[in-house]
Symmetry: C2
Subunit: 215 residues, 2 copies
DNA sequence: CCGCAAAGTGAACAGTCGTTCAGGCGGGGT
DNA sequence: ACCCCGCCTGAACGACTGTTCACTTTGCGG
């Protein structure tokens, strides 16, 4: 207790950082770093330095770097699944309205939470295999929503999806559309020519045209 | 020279491996490894072991791991640029035919050369900044082809692209379409329900619908 | 048959990585 | 007043990285 005078706040308060608990600060820093530079090249030291801590402190909150990634991806993915389900559920019974609502929710979210979307979509492969399962399941579930909407619209006669050689492949169609909606997070920049809502409407319009929605 | 008797063909012939020069073998192995596991986690030792050599031998053919990546990406990207330009040039003067030809060439290539496309699209960011320039330029050039086709079709009155709030954003439209066409390489599997040519036609049809091509 | 250049080997180098751990710190309960 | 416990520090560990290098092996032209 000799040199206590120097730098009163030398070491940080244990409960909060930047006004929030350290776990949240770590999560936020990790999101940013992973999105900017990619999981394998971001070191534990980088993440912790970005929130004013040192390497070792990570392991008071997460078992490993791998668990940290899994944690932030699953939470993002789970909420995406929830948001899209909710959008569809609240859009009435017309498949056209339901598809449009889905696209809007999906695209707005991928514009607004670019960082989170980017990490969730790009960094899965670094997780060790047993942890990938539930994320893949959630992705499949979201894709099944789209396939379901296409099927329903086709049966009700309000969609006329493209055919190749007389056959329709709604799964391929859904994959193509989802690729489009997902990767908006790779290049959309707020403050550009289109706002989030305008992007969402553009993509919804493209989707309705692609599936041959009748006026 | 005491134990020469063991393993006559211990070390391989210097000029060829698998019937082709070692540089090509290294390129092929690197493509495969980078596509499967990603540049930063693939070690030089991994690549060389995959073509039956040891670490040090890489540096007889490439200055660094970074140069190897740059080499295989630029060659892929340059040929993609060439192929798409050629497809458009050989499709007459109707913007609809030109767009369809572009999509077919682009999608077929991304189905057939999935490994190459995957590496070229996903691993750029690991290159050091001065090497990224020309690849970005090539991507921009390809995007400009699409924007050019959309503009031409709009002026000639054969396209009716979606509007948001009375404005059209052809660049965003082109980005959205390119995202769709590019990422087919992430999930297409040969032997599935659709062949490469069928995929190409499906995507071309979707694109024509999305841009509002008139019959 | 020799020698030479091209090509491959594998040990070695200097860093860096994720993770562990002994110790320091401060605030809350008794 | 005390001690405890959650949080943090920073040195240390062993494994692994890209790259270098002295040395060997190879096939070919003379």
């Amino acid at each position: 207790m000799s040199k206590r005078k120097i730098a009163v706040v030398e070491s940080a308060p244990p409960v909060e950082r930047d006004g929030r608990p350290p776990v949240e600060a770590i999560r936020a820093a990790a999101f940013q770093q992973f999105a900017e530079r990619g999981y394998p090249v971001v070191t534990v030291r980088d993440i912790m330095k970005a929130c004013g801590l040192t390497q070792g402190a990570l392991y008071n909150h997460f078992k490993s770097k791998d668990e940290l990634l899994h944690d932030i991806i699953t939470s993002t993915q789970a909420e995406l699944e929830r948001v899209t389900q909710q959008a569809v559920a609240g859009a009435g019974s017309d498949p056209r309205a339901k598809l449009a609502a889905f696209v809007r929710a999906y695209v707005v979210r991928h514009c607004r939470l670019r960082v989170e979307a980017l990490v969730a979509n790009r960094e899965i492969s670094w997780l060790d295999p047993d942890r990938i399962g539930d994320i893949r399941r959630s992705r499949r579930a979201i894709r099944e929503i789209v396939v379901g909407l296409l099927t329903e619209g086709l049966e009700k006669g309000v969609f006329d999806p493209p055919q190749v050689d007389g056959k329709r492949d709604l799964k391929a169609l859904a994959m193509a559309l989802l690729d489009q909606w997902t990767h908006v997070s790779m290049w959309y920049a707020p403050g550009g020519r289109l706002s989030e809502e305008q992007m969402a409407r553009l993509y919804a319009e493209m989707a309705l045209r692609a599936v041959g929605a009748k006026a």
